[in-house]
């Protein structure tokens, strides 16, 4: 199996589309699908046809049927074999999925026209092949059975021709009224094609109104820059050029569209050696974040005090008009260090602030950066082209109130759920004569509107979008549409009066204009690379507004801050089971959200994890379980958005509380409120019960002194004779100084290895199945702890206790040093897990497989067995990839090259913290790292000789941390 790393050079795009067309035209496997997939029968005619397209002729549903008599099953060949489809060989397509409207460039792995795995696109300038959890999990969303499958009106299914007819009527009215009373509400989108189409629409109907509402991202993200620089700006801090970064509540390594790019840049700059310090990060934050966990020095500052610290920073950097605020001793000490560091790194020191922060902080930070001469490092750019001067949701509501809106068309947004409750958006919609919702799910808004038009999933779409750095990225389908759905551009085309254009047409039109002559060649190139090379506009020259913004005197009460959820974001991923079961980085919580508070507040209110509290903001309140987060500021309460959904689907409904309910319109990210204990409590579905390291050295810290002498290969004495190794000896090294605990590896592993989802009840009793867990520890004072992340996959011990325990040879050792787990031999004694000192094995206590007729099966990797009830499973070092590499190499009679085998977790890691390879090859990257001074073995004293080892984290330089 070829990995994206070694992509074939021949243009991929055209091959892809033609092959899909032919596959789609081919009813070859109908009979077979009926046998294997009764669900197919339940689809509408179109959906059924497309479902058939989905299934490859060779689609093997691996399971553990058992080793009994193998039956004679039907075998269905093609009638005419499509060109270039070699059954059983995966194909790779460059495309993208979107988050907050930004493109996340991917390489999609497909088997017989069935995407099973997404990896970052290594050629793409923005992400350079790294990925995040949303990118990894997008493929499951494609197979979500709760997706809207056909257009419908007031809950009644209708056909697209009905839709065309209705839109035709609308257009007649609009032409007379020039679009008077037409309101178009969009989610945040950066698609050049969509923008082009909307501009066309506005040109045709000048009086039509365009609104934008993005729950988290979008235009609102730029407000603070308006305050600080007098103009909306896209700031892309160039961390790769920084020596010192002072972050004021800016979780730039946290989940979000910016995460991959930032993490890549940060890790590049962070890379520290014995003699080169690397990037030093200073973090002042109200709510602990992954960024804070990586900081040299971190201080907890209540959200409402952040701007004071900013002012203090400005004051120490001699910014004109910055009075010295009174800071606590703790804050002052931190400030002094930060300032000292900034001074000593002039020109390479940068201060950043959160886009969720207040204007005062933003403006002080802007001026401080000018004083530090760091403005260039901000990487300021004009906002990624967007729907020009779109109005806000609040405007829409008031316009509706004025009766100025007769037709409301909502595209790819879910305001009925994400709109702040005070807006009473639902009532507003009721006042509109005709409302249309266009989206992939018939969600809260879809249910509210008269019409619902289902959209294709990105992986089924022809479209385009800009990545966070503004690079235009082409989205091409990896599979023909699954249900009776249209791309957003086809829908726009309908509004523009074009009847049922080819899906590709609108996108090609956009780029035909842009690419100019010799289009086809350039286009093919773009499809192959996945993006369009454009020259960048020169960065605008910017000046911090000199007027210091002073926030209104805070009314008393606790600081309530709102944050998007790290795994289901603003709620749009709520129906994605992989993401629901992914532990949130700092709490390891799954399947819900908590109200996180600091230890001090917990002490005051006598609260422990799981206690229910009511949060009151102005006249509204919500209640939910609390989580006491070590290191959270004493008066700050953090609410996470995205939960409490009612129409997300079978997976996402009725989980957690809905924070939008108390999110004020005027203070969307930070406000004041109160907290009351309710006396009830609940058990939370967390994957790690205990977070203090208890004085052990699981995560080691070193300073330059410790690492002078490169460590020799660690070998504990052993009674057993050494075993001869094969030509390759696989090993993995994980750099704890680079790991930001983002979970991308876990998500990638889930997708690659068919890891089942077990649901919150099973997680509560401790039966989560992820093969790779990110252990999260803290040390020191709970008020100001140091936090650590440690990915723990199977250690593949050379002298594995687990193997010794198995009575049936179900887990043994390969000559290449891989600890093998053979599911079909396992009888489930669980001795191996009892003996495992690292507890990395996972057991199928029940049959965790999706129902036999569930479309999720299509997401399964055909190269990996789907485990049945009663068998043990665990990390295999992605043995399917190793064996594929062996076959490839053996065919060419050559040894496997270093870097030829890339495990799923490794390829996903945005900071390249995971390195896998052959430890017998002295020149391999992994061998080099095993020789590094920071190299150590987890539980070395147990003498298990793990093949998975770690690089210790760097101690903060003296006088810090």
């Amino acid at each position: 199996m070829r990995r994206p790393a070694t992509k074939p050079d021949h243009p991929r795009g055209p091959v892809l589309w033609s092959s899909l067309e032919e596959l789609s035209g081919d009813p070859a496997f109908e009979a077979w699908v009926d046998a294997e997939y009764p669900v197919a029968a339940t689809f509408g005619p179109t959906a059924r046809r497309t479902f058939l397209k989905l299934m490859g002729a060779s689609f093997a549903l691996a399971g553990l049927a058992g080793c009994e008599k193998s039956p004679f099953v039907a075998a269905l060949p093609y009638v005419e074999q499509p060109q270039g489809t070699d059954v059983g060989i995966p194909k790779y397509y460059a495309t993208a999925v979107t988050l907050d409207g930004y493109a996340q460039p991917v390489i999609a792995t497909t088997y017989s026209g069935r995407p099973t795995k997404l990896d970052g696109n290594p050629d793409h300038p923005a992400t350079q092949g790294r990925s995040d959890v949303f990118m990894q999990a997008a493929v499951l969303e494609l197979y979500d059975p709760d997706r809207a499958q056909a257009p419908n009106r007031r809950g009644e299914p209708v056909t697209w021709s009905d839709v065309q007819h209705h839109i035709g009527l609308l257009r007649q009215q609009w032409t007379q009224s020039q679009g008077e009373g037409v309101a178009l509400l969009l989610g945040h989108s950066t698609s050049p094609t969509l923008i082009r189409q909307i501009e066309a629409l506005v040109r045709e109907f000048p009086k039509a109104q365009i609104y934008e509402h993005a729950a988290v991202g979008g235009g609102r993200g730029l407000d603070s820059t308006r305050a600080a620089y007098g103009q909306p700006l896209q700031l892309r801090p160039q961390f790769e050029n920084c020596d010192v970064v002072v972050s004021l509540d800016d979780d730039f390594l946290g989940a979000g569209p910016h995460q991959v790019a930032n993490a890549r840049a940060w890790s590049a700059a962070r890379h520290r050696t014995a003699d080169q310090p690397g990037l030093a990060l200073y973090m002042a934050e109200a709510v602990p974040s992954t960024t804070g966990a990586m900081a040299e020095a971190r201080v907890a500052v209540d959200a409402s005090r952040t701007w004071l610290v900013a002012q203090g920073l400005a004051n120490s950097c001699d910014v004109a008009g910055a009075a010295k605020p009174d800071l606590s001793a703790k804050e002052q000490r931190w400030l002094d260090r930060a300032v000292h560091a900034c001074r000593s790194a002039r020109g390479r020191a940068l201060v950043t602030c959160s886009r969720f922060g207040d204007d005062a902080t933003a403006s002080w930070v802007a001026r401080t950066n000018e004083a530090l001469g760091a403005t260039a490092l901000l990487g300021a750019a004009a906002p990624v082209p967007n729907v020009a001067n779109a109005k806000r949701l609040s405007d829409l509501v008031s316009d509706i109130g004025r009766g100025a809106v007769q037709t409301l068309i909502i595209i790819d947004a879910n305001p009925a759920y994400t709109a702040p409750a005070w807006l009473a958006f639902r009532d507003a919609v009721a006042k509109v004569r005709s409302s249309v919702h266009v989206g992939i799910h018939r969600d809260e808004t879809g249910a509210l509107c008269e019409w619902h038009l289902p959209l294709t999933h990105t992986l089924e779409s022809w479209s385009d979008a800009r990545s966070i750095d503004g690079t235009a990225t082409i989205i091409q389908p990896t599979i023909a549409p699954f249900y009776d759905v249209r791309t957003v551009h086809q829908v726009m085309a309908l509004l523009l009066g074009q009847l049922d254009p080819l899906p590709a047409a609108p996108v090609r039109d956009t780029w035909r204009a842009a690419l100019g002559n010799d289009f086809e060649t350039k286009w093919t190139r773009c499809l192959h690379d996945g993006y369009v090379p454009e020259q960048r506009a020169a960065p605008p020259n910017i000046h911090a507004a000199a007027t210091a913004v002073v926030p209104p005197p805070p009314d008393d009460g606790l600081d309530i801050v709102f944050r998007p959820d790290p795994t289901i974001w603003d709620g749009s991923f709520a129906n994605n089971a992989w993401l629901q079961e992914l532990p949130k980085p700092l709490t390891t919580l799954t399947w819900g959200n908590v109200i996180s508070i600091g230890p001090a507040l917990a002490m005051r209110k006598d609260l422990t994890n799981g206690d229910h509290v009511r949060i009151r903001v102005r006249d509204r309140s919500i209640s939910g379980p609390v989580w006491v987060l070590p290191g959270q500021a004493p008066n700050t309460v953090a609410l996470t958005l995205g939960y409490g959904r009612s129409k997300a689907g079978r997976v996402g409904d009725g989980l957690g509380y809905n924070a939008y309910h108390v999110q004020p319109i005027d203070q969307p990210w930070q406000t004041k409120g109160s907290l009351h204990k309710l006396g009830t409590r609940e058990t939370l579905a967390v994957t790690q019960l205990h977070h203090r390291m208890e004085g052990f050295d699981f995560v080691r810290e070193v300073n330059a002194a410790d690492t002078d002498h490169p460590k020799h290969e660690t070998t504990q004495p052993s009674l057993y004779p050494p075993k001869p190794s094969a030509q390759n000896a696989w090993g993995m090294v994980i750099d704890l100084d680079a790991c930001i605990g983002c979970n991308a590896c876990v998500a990638a592993c889930t997708a690659e290895n068919n890891v089942p989802v077990v649901g919150s009840e099973q997680v509560k009793v401790g039966r989560e199945m992820q093969w790779l867990r990110i252990a999260r520890y803290y040390t020191g004072d709970v008020e100001e702890p140091r936090s650590f992340f440690q990915p723990v996959p199977c250690m593949h011990c050379e002298q594995a206790p687990c193997e010794m325990g198995c009575p049936v040879h179900a887990t043994t050792h390969s000559p290449e040093g891989v600890n093998q787990m053979v599911y079909n031999r396992c009888i489930g004694t669980r001795t191996c897990s009892s003996y495992c000192p690292y507890k990395v094995r996972r057991f199928n206590f029940f049959d965790y497989r999706p129902a036999s007729d569930a479309p999720e099966h299509a997401a399964h990797n055909p190269d990996v067995t789907v485990r049945s009830r009663g068998v043990m499973e665990k990390c295999t070092y992605c043995t399917q990839r190793i064996e594929a590499a062996h076959v490839a190499a053996d065919k060419e009679n050559r040894p496997i090259r270093d870097g030829e085998v890339v495990t799923a977790c490794q390829s996903a890691c945005p900071t390249k913290a995971i390195v896998f390879g052959d430890i017998r090859n002295p020149d391999s990257e992994v061998s080099r790292l095993r020789g590094d001074g920071r190299h150590y073995v987890l539980l070395e004293e147990q003498g298990t000789r793990p093949r998975t080892t770690y690089l210790a984290r760097w101690k903060p330089p003296e006088g810090q941390g």
């Binding site: 080793c67 790690q688 019960l689 205990h690 977070h691 203090r692 390291m693 208890e694 004085g695 052990f696 699981f698 099973q762 009793v765 401790g766 039966r767 867990r773 252990a775 999260r776 520890y777 440690q790 723990v792 206790p801 010794m804 325990g805 198995c806 009575p807 049936v808 040879h809 031999r825 396992c826 009888i827 489930g828 004694t829 669980r830 001795t831 897990s833 009892s834 003996y835 000192p837 690292y838 507890k839 990395v840 094995r841 996972r842 057991f843 199928n844 206590f845 029940f846 049959d847 009830r869 009663g870 068998v871 043990m872 987890l938 539980l939 004293e941 147990q942 298990t944």
Partner: protein, 451 residues
Amino acid sequence: MTDRTADILPQDQSLGRVSDQLTGIPLHFPTRRRWWIAMIIASALLLLLVISTTALFTRGVGIWGINIPVNWAFAIHNYVWWLGIGHAGTLISALLLLTGSEWRNSLNRFAETMTLFAVICAGIYPVLHLGRPWYLYWMFPYPATMGIWPQFRSPLEWDIWAVLTYLTVSLAFWYTGLIPDFAAARDRSRKRGWQIFFGITSLGWRGSAAHWQRWQQAYRVTAGLAVPLVVSVHSEVSLLFAAGQIPGWHSTIFPPYFVLGAAFSGFAVVAIIAIALRSLFALGNLVTDDHLDVLGKVLLACGLMTGYGYLFEVFDALYSGGAHEMRTLSDRLTGAYAWTYWGAIAFNFVPLQGLWWRSVRRSGWMLLSISISVAIGMWLERYMILVTSLYRDFLVSSWGAFTPTFWDWSTYLGTIGLFLVPFLLAIRFIPMISIFETEELLHKEQERPHG
């Protein structure tokens, strides 16, 4: 002990009366009503086991409270507990036979019977706890089309062989001892059905001198083999834990610790049954206060030795000084499951001290309640050894917790039914006290004064 045997059986009874009395129990069963009540309760429990097992096989081991890290709990700890109980029988009959402690003669028969059914209860657990029990046969070496064999380095594999051997040998030993008594019952029985039943089970035993001679040799040498077997079986069970690296398991004291614990719980249950039977069948003349007295002493001795095991475990942890060992120790003493540790101590050793007094040893009720408390205490000890070691092993990030579910309990109670039903049947149909050995002893004692 032999010096005490002078007055362990009252001598004012003829051989004939003893024989009639004992064969009379199966032949003209005295207490039908109480037996039926017991039987109904036992069957109800057995039914519960059937239900639990059905649920288990249809849905999977997930119906229990186990998880990662505590992926062994009730199944394994009840397995150890039952097997422990199953040790006294063979010890009493074999070891005491060899040491010529004649007081055993009134107890060995039902002690052995108890052993058999306890071992069966233990034996089903390793099957039940499998994720895929229908592949159990993969644990046995047979020429499979897969060309793959069992893994003989695994303590689990050892256990299968150990338990099966123990079961088979105990059964054979028990039956060999029964043959002459079956013959006795055959000769007393008048009903045709009984005659055929005992006629076949006694294999036509005629008590000829030559028979006795060979029988004695076989019986004694088998007893000689049974003793190391008993010791080995529970040592192997302990290796199931000690072979792993988990703190709290990885200790050299485990084999003796487990064997003594096993004998401790076993003798407790023997005492319970002895007292119950003697009151049920008015066997005061054969199971005398002296028997209870001796049982009490043995119980006390085993208890004290087990207590030593506890002490040594603590010492072991402290002496090793390993951070993780210490951690587990403190978890046992103060952690979430400290109640199992202190519970074990309280039930095992506090009432036990009463046995220092002769009067307590000789009072049925006292000994009974102490024995019951010991059985509970040992159950808690197994729980403690399993759960407190697993729920917090090395990596803090993998620490977990365990809460038994309804099915955990129902399966456990069910096995009590599985024990009682066949045991009740046995006392209904089989002479529960060795007739010929009692006669032999009685005769010896009557001879002794004038001989």
